[in-house]
Amino acid sequence: MKKTLLILTFAGLLLAAPACPPGRAASWSGVDETVIEKFAEKAGRTAREPFINTDQGDLLLFVFLVAGIVGGFIGGYNFRVLFPPRRGVGDEKHV
């Protein structure tokens, strides 16, 4: 527990300690925008709309939510198969 806290604190400090470079506001854009698309535009290539464009209003939020639930369920189901819960006080067979 202590070790986990230490690791999490270290990771938090690492990510949060130094401020954003001076004179530049944090945009929180992805590196696809800040790096990939920037260099591509300079070279005359621009990103096209996806074939199935879910980036419209709150639709993307919905799709992310569904993807997370499905992914979380698959991960959770397999996790339970691989790491069954430990028997503890109060369990049927223990009593």
């Binding site: 690791i7 270290f10 990771a11 690492l14 990510l15 949060a16 300690a17 130094p18 401020a19 954003c20 470079p21 530049r24 506001a25 944090a26 945009s27 929180w28 854009s29 992805g30 590196v31 696809d32 925008e33 800040t34 790096v35 990939i36 698309e37 260099f39 591509a40 300079k42 070279a43 290539r45 621009t46 990103a47 096209r48 709309e49 996806p50 074939f51 199935i52 464009n53 980036d55 709150d58 993307l60 939020l61 799709v63 992310f64 939510l65 993807a67 997370g68 639930i69 992914g71 979380g72 698959i74 991960g75 189901y77 397999n78 198969v81 691989l82 790491f83 109060g90 049927e92 009593v95």
Partner: protein, 255 residues
């Protein structure tokens, strides 16, 4: 009586898990902050070339899945768990205050240790295809390039780092940390190669490559360290809860 309490406890656990998942996902921003190469960025020649590079690796991984599923009974659930983890990790944007931008880890270093690099390419390909189709994350024309950078480069570098460090007799913590760190950095180095190769035009390839790689540094330097820590934490959990999974993984993974 005890049975009723056990059932109630299970229902509460399920409800808490669903609420936690939903809460986490609702907190995600509406815009997809991706690191993958977006649709239409690569010219047709390069898009086809990266598909041609990726396909043999995917085929190799599929053959390995068939073989190892027969050998080990718990292998399919392990691949399912690792696949879901790679999918979720690789579409989870993490804000990096040092750069004021967002990016995400890939999870391919950890996956390669657990299920081997061949199968990591397969799970990464599935994750990237779903993201390109439904999450406006990456693209179908750039799917080959994204598989090569995240799947192939990330998995094989992470696996290689872990394998070499363990063979040198160094501690597993160091091996896991460097596997996570280097797999993340290798992914971005490969993305830089792909972009520089396609976009350098009349200029120098190495000049363009260096510029793109340097642009990735403020975001990916801390995120790579984070991925290394993530890899150590996950492997520590597996080692303490079910070490036999690592013995099974050793047949095709590096653990």
């Amino acid at each position: 009586m005890n049975g009723i309490w056990t059932k109630r406890r299970n229902v509460i656990r399920w409800a808490a898990a669903v609420a936690a998942t939903a809460g986490t996902l609702i907190a995600l921003p509406a815009q997809a902050f991706a690191m993958h190469i977006s649709e239409g960025i690569l010219p047709a020649f390069w898009a086809v070339l990266w598909y041609a590079v990726a396909i043999p690796f995917v085929a190799l991984g599929l053959r390995e899945l068939q073989r190892r599923s027969v050998e080990f009974p718990y292998f399919k659930p392990l691949v399912g768990l690792v696949g879901a983890a790679v999918f979720l990790i690789s579409c989870m944007p993490i804000p990096v205050p040092t750069a004021g931008t967002c990016s995400h880890p890939a999870g391919t270093g950890l996956a390669a240790i657990l299920i081997g690099p061949g199968l990591t390419v397969v799970v990464a390909s599935i994750a990237l295809t779903l993201q390109a189709l439904f999450l406006a994350h990456g693209g179908l024309t750039t799917l080959g390039a994204n598989i090569v950078s995240m799947g192939v480069a990330g998995a094989y570098v992470g696996y290689g780092a872990y394998w070499i460090i363990r063979r040198l007799g160094l501690p597993w913590v160091m091996a896991a940390f460097l596997a996570g760190l280097l797999s993340d950095w290798a992914t971005y180095a490969m993305t830089s190669v792909e972009l520089a190769a396609a976009l350098h035009g009349g200029g120098s390839f190495s000049g363009m490559f260096s510029l793109i790689l340097i642009a990735f540094v403020p975001t990916q330097l801390p995120l790579g360290i984070f991925e290394g820590i993530l890899c150590v934490g996950a492997l520590k959990f597996v080692r303490s809860r079910k070490p036999e999974l690592l013995r099974m993984a050793a047949a095709g993974g590096a653990a």
